[in-house]
Symmetry: C2
Subunit: 153 residues, 2 copies
DNA sequence: TCACATTTAATTGTTCGCAATTGAATGTGC
DNA sequence: GCACATTCAATTGCGAACAATTAAATGTGA
């Protein structure tokens, strides 16, 4: 027998879940990015790694992982693919042989110029003012940091 | 030679990307959910499918996909795992043999009661008022829908 | 009716994402 | 100096996520 919607079920309703909003928005972003990044020969996570490296080059895997909240199980194969694409070089640090330093190749540096049009296209797809987006971003980052604080206890 | 931060690079800076905020928040949610869902024997995407089915049972794969923005390449193996866990049953529709209908088993129905504590735990981890979360959720959903609108053109 | 397009799941192959483990390098306390 | 713990990247195994293709069922137009 069909049950009428119960108030007790409200917390379990899909449309009431902020996590699903975030989850589905992440996928929507990914789908908007895909055609843009295809032209650069990058996936979205690879693009994030490149953003890190364009800010600061020659960093250990661990640093990239801390900035992107990813571990070596994700980054090691991803970085090997970037190396196979001649965008980065992986070399063991001579000071600390445990570390692997990731450095951009000339092609990796050059790709930055081709990437400059990407944020503009995303902004257009968002159909939203910059100030609104910045405000949303700050709220989402604050929420993320509160969630991450709970994990680390 | 180290370059000083250039204003022209601001759009490419990781911390300025709303997409990264959303992406990393989704992962943070997933990490908070993991221990809660482990007790139910579900992954987060499986939990989303169960949320859909707890609202309405006996639906074709396509309907689940439309609600969750997922395709059969993701859902078919996921639903087979839920079937292997005895939470759902997959049967071809007799009216339209192309469709596979997904129905909850008694265990699948029963799991709903065990899941009721999950949203409360997430709310606590968010460390945020319900009204703030609802406002954020609505903004994120609106953004997601604008992004999805761009894709479908 | 019959050729044709459309719809629906399933399948294949590639790339993430993470838990758990491994192994080498480094740091430490005695 | 030496046992011990810690750090770091790599590896393995599993579960998404999606593009592209396949195959079967259904719908449509002439």
């Amino acid at each position: 027998m069909p049950r009428k919607p119960s108030a007790a079920d409200a917390p379990l309703r899909l449309d009431n879940q902020i996590c699903f909003a975030v989850y589905s928005a992440a996928h929507a972003f990914n789908r908007v990015y895909k055609p843009l990044l295809d032209r650069l020969g990058l996936t979205y996570p690879q693009y994030l790694v490149m953003l890190v490296l364009w800010e600061r080059d020659d960093v250990p895997v661990k640093d990239i992982g801390e900035k992107l909240f990813l571990d070596s199980g994700t980054l090691t194969p991803l970085l090997k693919r970037l190396e196979a694409a001649h965008l980065v070089k992986r070399t063991r640090s001579s000071e600390d042989e445990r570390q692997v330093l990731i450095a951009l190749t000339p092609q990796g540096h050059a790709l930055k110029d081709k990437a400059r049009s990407v944020p503009q296209s995303i902004l257009a797809a968002s159909d939203c003012s910059v100030s609104e987006l910045v405000a949303m971003k700050d709220e989402i980052v604050a929420l993320r940091d509160r969630l991450n604080a709970v994990i680390g206890e």
